[in-house]
């Protein structure tokens, strides 16, 4: 399975619904400081089920909902949708699945798989079954790459056990 397409709406600095098409290979994301590049990485971690606000640079999970700018009011919901696709080659049809996560200001959370409401657990099982992989080393956060070197030998082990 590969990343096919993502939509971000109301997540952090993405006030407007924004779509990204993914292609195989290397995709570079560029732009000035503070424009929203790392927020895209956060959106990917978040839609795949990240439960820790700290790994998203936030204090509370509600901090990821668009909080307004000098000319815009805050939004009431953050939503990220991520579509995975697998081309099976030949005449076999491509397979796909779509994961959606929403968070409302009142704290309510929704997860959807292929458009149908589900639990976080169902998303996690789907990701495991499709071998989309753990987020532990799928998203390397800004400034965090040498954590693996400074980690205590026993903490480092977690990554190996996950791979094993």
């Amino acid at each position: 399975f590969t990343l096919d397409r993502m939509e971000i709406h109301g997540f952090k600095s993405f006030f407007s619904r924004t779509a990204f098409e993914f292609r195989p290979g290397i995709i570079a994301v560029v732009g000035p400081n503070g424009c929203g590049k790392s927020n895209i990485g956060d959106a990917i971690s978040w839609v795949l089920g990240d439960q820790s606000p700290r790994s998203l640079r936030a204090d509370r999970m509600s901090d990821v909902i668009f909080n307004g700018s000098e000319s815009r009011r805050p939004l009431g919901m953050a939503e990220v949708t991520l579509k995975f696709m697998r081309t099976n080659g030949g005449p076999a049809p491509a397979e796909e699945f779509v994961v959606t996560r929403r968070l409302y200001r009142d704290g309510n959370s929704e997860y959807c798989l292929n458009g149908a409401r589900c639990r976080l657990k169902d998303i996690q099982e789907m990701l495991l079954r499709s071998q989309v992989g753990s987020r532990l080393y799928s998203v390397i956060e800004q400034g965090k790459v040498d954590l693996i070197l400074t980690a205590r030998p026993k903490d480092r082990r977690g990554l190996f056990e996950e791979a094993a």
């Binding site: 600095s13 195989p24 989309v132």
Partner: protein, 152 residues
């Protein structure tokens, strides 16, 4: 189980040395189990020595050498248990030009098994990409995608 972990460890350790040598153009690196305890509980030590340099504590390595060593280990984990995608957020920031070149060539070797999303300010990294997304905030506080360029 013990055998499963040891077998994974061996393969990752091999991959680490190979990635390290590719990224540094030489030198050597290994992983060691701190054998004072049960193999299922003990810590993992990292040994790394860039080309021409003597082996010493990895804390003495430079900022760029540490980034490259960490990337070599992460790619070894990746090769053993691939994830279809990987988001790398400014890992090239501390690297000099030559090292950015070796880094992007290694990314290229790992595609198409893995799809890389490389957040960067570095021109050499941009040149290595197949697809370029430009993000701006024309309106302050509001992110907008303004360009998408497909290279061949």
């Amino acid at each position: 189980s013990r055998e499963k972990f040891l077998e994974a460890f061996e393969r990752i350790q091999e991959g680490f040395n190979r990635s390290f040598i590719t990224l540094f153009g030489g030198g050597r690196a290994e992983l060691r189990l701190l054998e004072d305890e049960d193999v299922l509980e003990c810590g993992i030590e990292i040994i790394a020595s860039p080309p021409g340099k003597r082996l010493q504590n990895i804390s003495l390595l430079s900022g760029g050498e540490k980034a490259m060593t960490a990337v070599a280990l992460l790619f070894a984990l990746f090769r053993y248990r691939p994830s279809p995608f990987c988001v790398l957020d400014e890992v090239d920031a501390p690297l000099d030009e030559a090292n950015v070149g070796r880094f992007t060539r290694m990314l290229r070797e790992l595609t198409p098994e893995t799809q890389f999303i490389l957040i960067t300010h570095n021109r050499r990294s941009m040149e290595a990409a197949d697809l370029l997304y430009g993000i701006t905030m024309e309106e302050p506080g509001v992110s907008k995608v303004v360009s998408m360029r497909l290279d061949n």
